[in-house]
Symmetry: C2
Subunit: 305 residues, 2 copies
């Protein structure tokens, strides 16, 4: 099986939506990416850090999904990263209520030797200098590197962010962030500019409006599956990245055609994520459900002309 390494946060989230409120539940970019990628036939490892307060139950959940957790460092005397947020009525805007970095503050990820030649590496949302330090550890130039980031790093650590962007193959970014990063309103022009910064593939996530894939002149547009209700959008972008990377890990040839499919798999996984609080829906997800929803995606978009 191909190897996939995910570097990112494993955290506690507390979420408030118009439908309800959670206590501290499993969260973090690497958790969503890993649970989503574990739907594919891939040898998947999470590199992250948690505190002594992190429940064995969540580690067992990863193990049950055949995720290698030997590189999730447990700092016994520390506390796990905690994020809390509230979504407004339209689910398109949210406010952060609490961010406690805790053990994340001094996180120095170490990629295990056996994963240093992984087929795919996903750099989940983290300080760009930390993301770069992971790249320094990889041994195989053919590793496909997928970078996720957000506006916080553009505002605060732009220089380091541009350094890491230079070194990756794929960037996943949302529409407003693409506009901020490039100063361009047109996403077509923004993607062109991002190509010149490094990434050969640019994936622009548009939430309920789907995602766009760009590859030097080629374009692909995937809708989001229109849903009757979005229960909790937390983790949808990471779940997308996990499905995207999981599919590519399984795939023989990495090119524009397989990237298109990867976007569809990512969108499919993300459409499940938002149906329940946190990772709940991903935990219970069956492969037949994914197959059925892929067909729904196909029916939603395909036409004869």
């Amino acid at each position: 099986m191909s190897k996939l390494v995910i570097v990112g946060t494993v955290a506690f989230d507390a979420v408030e939506t118009p439908f309800g409120k959670t206590d501290k539940i499993l969260g973090g970019s690497a958790s969503y990416i890993g649970l989503s990628a574990s739907q594919f036939k891939v040898d998947c490892a999470i590199v992250s850090v948690v505190g002594g307060d992190f429940p064995q139950e969540y580690l067992d959940l990863f193990l049950n999904k055949s995720i290698d957790i030997s590189s999730i460092e447990v700092i016994k005397q520390g506390k796990t990263f905690f994020w809390s947020g509230r979504y407004h009525n339209d689910m398109n805007s949210r406010e952060t209520l609490v961010t406690e970095l805790n053990v994340l503050e001094n996180f120095q990820p170490t990629v295990p030797d056996i994963y240093k030649d992984a087929k795919v590496l996903v750099l989940g949302n983290l300080h760009p200098a930390v993301q770069s330090s992971v790249l320094d550890q990889m041994s195989d130039l053919s590793t496909l590197v997928v970078l996720d980031t957000m506006n916080f790093w553009m505002n605060n650590t732009l220089k380091e962010l541009l350094e890491v962007i230079k070194r990756v193959d794929v960037i996943t970014i949302n529409d407003e962030e693409a506009r901020q990063l490039t100063g361009e309103h047109s996403l077509v022009v923004a993607a062109k500019k991002i190509h010149t910064m490094g990434p050969e593939y640019v994936v622009i996530k548009k939430g309920e409006h789907g995602a766009l894939l760009f590859n030097n002149g080629n374009m692909f547009s995937a809708p989001a599956l229109p849903l009757e209700s979005v229960f909790d959008p937390t983790g949808a972008g990471d779940t997308f990245a996990g499905g995207f990377a999981g599919f590519l890990s399984e795939t023989e040839h990495i090119n524009f055609e397989s990237m298109k499919k990867a976007v569809i798999y990512g969108s499919t996984l993300a459409s499940f994520c938002v149906e329940r609080f946190g990772t709940e829906r991903l935990e219970l997800l069956k492969s037949e459900e994914i197959s059925r929803r892929l067909i729904a995606f196909k029916e939603l978009t395909q036409f004869e002309i």
Copy 2:
């Protein structure tokens, strides 16, 4: 050839965008719908009203596109409907600077006898009571009726609007208007509610994010073609409706499959409209250009899984 009747405004527009400013140029819903529909093999008539100030040059333009203008009433002593607006930097919001109804104020459309059994009728954005009066004149129950409307009528004449919605086969409406009309945030739920108001087909236009087609449980999503620059968005929605209706007029069977293609044709025509000021791009449009862009749409959306 099948017959298509378009009832709507023929107007003067003055538009200001970040790229420049126009004098009074040709505008109005029926102008855009007609120029767009004239790309299809269809016997197309515009029912509208203009003032004595309306230039022969614009009427000749319609004639050159084989549009029947015998039902564009010219009120010699009156002035043509005039709208002026300004777009902001992101092109997604605009403000109306001037609205002079002029001859439109007392517009009583009369459908010519030979078009009373038209295959397709498009009711462009007008007072819903006026739209209803057009429906009263039609003689053939099999006429496919496409209604366009906007939030102004929801705010001011909701009762009359609901009356006309009850009587149409297809409604085209933008996402915010669908939400306002139904009080539902999810477009899937909004479309369901609109079905119960009358229309068998619901087309929700999402501007740069494309369009959704709903038909009692069936869904289709068409992207907008991602563009490097949007020069002037005026008329894009009407151009969509014109391409949509023009295609359906040409088509033998009207069902969900042909509606999907109609949405793609509508999106294709709209993608040209925004490239220049006003109707300029539509006036010069060649059928080879449309064919090429249809292929671009197909490449943008199709995938194998």
